[in-house]
């Protein structure tokens, strides 16, 4: 896959405090900093050790921090999550990686029945302060098992937090927050935008991160709080709720159509920034929800319900959802499946015409 090459940060040489890096490097940076700061942080997963990960997110970390801090695991997702729960019970802060979100399912029992409920069922005797990192999302010709967006499975589980960054700056700050958080966090990394933001126009060359303002990532430690959305663009015409890759696609569509939307990058799905959502929808009176995941019972349904329940008298049009279709993720028909500019554009026209 084309995502697996970059290693060193592309220095633009503009100014020393304007270090520009891509999302892979930002994640690597966050892990490096947390391994350095906290001796209880452990990074593990399939191919993450010596090799540095199939997406290079853990490159160089084993060499720097040692084999007992950063190591390869057997190919066993239930084992990876299971031992991470045990390590958390001991007092470590494990950061396991699941190579693709599509392969997290063998670890679901450990995540849902154990990690998510440990604090509750033991009344705080034991906790699971772990961060499960996993590349997710489509748009890379990954077919059925390298493209899925299973976030709704996790947002449905009480006790888990679900975080999805959309820029290098956020990826680093959110990952550091997730690792320091004492609750289990599912940290989904949109692999389509590891190397650059994606407009949805798959036939155009990929933009590199270095031309995007949010690729300026400070050196050292900083945090972005979980549970806080980010305003991507401020506008009055409608509210767009999105996360991950779709933030960039929605932004490109609005730019092209000349629509002034208030785009909220949710960043954390649970706990959700309901205040930001309510404030925006009450201002615009119109709401579009965009995600790659399949439609039925997707996270968009929860968002739509919340907006309808809490902003009903401010709405001037029905809440719309633009999502993936209710099919497994196809290979050859990827761009017919992907909720791209045409589908988003149609939905915007419909909302604005009401």
């Amino acid at each position: 896959m084309s995502q697996t090459k970059t290693k060193t940060a592309p220095k633009t040489g503009e100014t020393s405090d304007e270090r520009r890096i891509n999302m892979i490097e930002a994640i690597n940076d966050a892990l490096d900093i947390m391994l350095e700061r906290d001796p209880d942080v452990i990074v593990m997963g399939e191919d993450v050790g010596y090799f540095g990960g199939v997406f290079r997110c853990t490159a160089g970390l084993q060499e720097k921090h040692g084999k007992t801090r950063v190591f390869d695991t057997p190919i066993s997702e239930c084992g990876i999550i299971g031992v991470a729960v045990g390590m958390g019970a001991y007092g470590l802060r494990p950061v396991p990686e699941i190579q693709f979100a599509d392969y997290i399912y063998p670890g679901l029992d450990q995540l849902i029945s154990e990690a998510a409920r440990l604090r509750y069922r033991s009344a705080n005797d034991y906790i699971a302060p772990m961060t499960v990192r996993s590349p997710f999302g489509g748009g890379i010709f990954g077919g059925q098992t390298h493209s899925q967006s299973p976030e709704a499975i996790f947002t449905h589980v009480s006790g888990l937090k679900t975080v999805i960054p959309s820029t290098p700056y956020d990826a680093k700050g959110l990952l550091i927050s997730a690792i320091e958080d004492n609750d289990p966090v599912i940290f989904f990394e949109p692999k389509r935008i590891y190397n650059g933001p994606f407009s949805g126009y798959y036939d155009k060359p990929v933009e590199p991160w270095k031309r995007h303002k949010d690729s300026v990532v400070p050196e050292g430690y900083y945090k972005i709080p979980l549970g806080k959305a980010r305003t991507v663009t401020d506008g009055e015409e409608l509210t767009i709720l999105a996360y991950g890759t779709m933030v960039h696609v929605a932004e490109a569509v609005c730019r092209e159509k000349g629509v002034e939307a208030h785009i909220l990058d949710l960043r954390t799905l649970v706990p959700l920034d309901i205040e930001a959502i309510e404030a925006s929808v009450r201002k615009t009176g119109r709401c579009l929800i965009v995600h790659e995941a399949t439609r039925t019972s997707g996270f968009g349904a929860e968002l739509s319900a919340l907006v309808t329940e809490r902003c009903f008298y401010h709405l001037e049009a029905p809440v719309e959802r633009v999502t993936g279709f209710d099919t497994p993720y196809p290979h050859s028909l990827e761009w017919a499946y992907f909720p791209g500019p045409v589908r988003i554009g149609e939905a915007i026209d419909k909302i604005l015409s009401e």
């Binding site: 239930c78 390590m87 470590l92 029992d109 154990e114 069922r121 034991y126």
Partner: protein
């Protein structure tokens, strides 16, 4: 399709395949005959060096380590040579577990709680085994290791508070009875999901090794649950990282109504699985407290010396129903318990102590009476905090706490709703003590 059904052996003249569905030897009403069960002779099994290569343990994984003979004496190299005081303590813990089980089972029948599970016949596998560990070695139990808590001195009142889900319950009434948790006693929170604790124990042991600690982990799982994928993961991770962990498999012959054949016991032993993983494997008489202690101590020494993990199968018998919700007369012969060739663990240890001249029937009777009295007193004490469904529970708001470290807005909203509902249901305040 009719054509094909008549076409015996669908591959032309190749023989028709047949599916083997295991069937236990004895069903309700059957006469039980265990004479072909080879339990070996006490004292005959070699005790290899604790740092030995797993490949040297092949015979131990198929045999049965036994110490206590029919002559009530300890035999062979596995005799842990415990002093009389320790043996009496062990017997005392086992007797207390039995008394506790009796009373709690009755408590469930009297409607004081919803559920209970006894470990009758398996007391040695938790009491004796855990006594071979250090008190701060971490234990990842299944739901039938109440003996570990009792051996570690966990207060009976706390156990009963949990079983009654009352206002004294440290788990705030959130967990099904017997799903104990005590960090203070290095006893991991019990989960209803089977075998999940096994890779967790391995992870804890890995963490201890990462930190250069000296503590080890031990986990207990039933033979039925060894069929879960988690158990395979646990064995793999344990061996890959040479984790200081002991994987205890309690083979009590039954997983609810399914006999051990449904976990693969018709073809091999559970200890023999260790061989394929490169783990040390031991198979012991689970009703022989001395053998249970000795095997656990062997494995603990091995783990502590960085010599690697061990899988121990305890060959025992689940003497009672699976739980208060189960009636074993529906699927197995009542004679099995009476005919079980390895006897009763409490009786065998008692007779050994009497044989040593360190015990007698009179002291046993007195001890049994004291155990019953202790449990009764603890029950009365716990009942002051309420029994299930009688109003003395934790406040409504606690239902929403500890889902996360801090309460997110949506749980605050839901908590407010629950409290509002309470005010509508009981405008005068909820009746305390009466049926709600």
């Amino acid at each position: 399709m009719a054509d094909r059904a008549e076409d015996a052996g669908k591959g032309g003249n190749k023989p028709a395949l047949s599916l083997h569905v295991p069937e236990p030897k004895y069903r309700p009403g059957d006469a039980v005959d265990y004479s072909d069960l080879d339990v070996g002779e006490p004292g005959k099994q070699p005790r290899p060096d604790e740092a030995c290569d797993p490949s040297e343990m092949r015979d131990l994984a198929y045999g049965l380590v036994r110490v206590l003979g029919d002559d009530n004496k300890a035999h062979g190299p596995w005799d842990p040579k415990l002093d009389a005081e320790t043996l009496r303590t062990m017997l005392g813990h086992m007797a207390l577990v039995r008394a506790f089980d009796e009373r709690m089972f009755r408590g469930q029948r009297q409607g004081k709680t919803s559920f209970y599970m006894k470990c009758t016949g398996e007391e040695a596998t938790s009491v004796a085994a855990s006594m071979a560990l250090a008190s701060d070695d971490m234990v990842f139990p299944s739901y039938r290791q109440q003996g570990v808590l009792i051996a570690r001195g966990y207060p009976l009142v706390e156990m009963i508070n949990q079983i009654y889900s009352n206002k004294g319950d440290k788990l705030k009434g959130r967990q099904l009875p017997i799903m104990y948790s005590s960090r203070e006693h290095s006893f991991f929170s019990i989960s209803g999901n089977l075998a999940t604790q096994t890779p967790q124990a391995v992870g804890w042991a890995m963490a201890s090794a990462i930190k250069g600690d000296s503590r080890i982990a031990a986990t207990w799982v039933g033979e039925g649950s060894t069929a879960e994928g988690d158990f395979h993961s646990a064995c793999t991770f344990a061996t890959v990282y040479n984790a200081p962990v002991i994987l205890n498999v309690i083979n009590n012959q039954w997983a609810i109504s399914s006999f051990s054949g449904f976990a693969g016991a018709e073809r091999t032993t559970f200890a023999a699985r260790a061989l394929g993983y490169g783990l040390a494997g031991l198979r012991v008489d689970g009703n022989d407290a001395l053998a249970c202690f000795a095997a656990q101590r062997w494995a603990a020494n091995r783990a502590r010396a960085n010599a690697g993990p061990t899988l121990i199968e305890y060959f025992t018998y689940r003497a009672e129903g699976h739980s208060t919700s189960d009636d074993p007369s529906g699927y197995r012969s009542a004679q099995e318990r009476e005919e079980w060739p390895l006897g009763d663990p409490v009786m065998r240890l008692k007779r050994h102590l009497i044989e040593l001249g360190e015990w007698d029937e009179e002291r046993q009777e007195k001890m049994d009476a004291e155990c019953a009295e202790r449990v009764k007193a603890a029950t009365k004490e716990a009942e002051k905090n309420g029994i299930l469904g009688h109003g003395l529970h934790h406040p409504f708001h606690t239902m929403f706490e500890d889902v996360y470290e801090e309460l997110p807005w949506h749980l605050e909203e839901q908590a407010a709703q629950a409290i509002r509902e309470r005010e509508i249901k009981w405008p005068e305040g909820r009746p305390q003590g009466g049926k709600a």
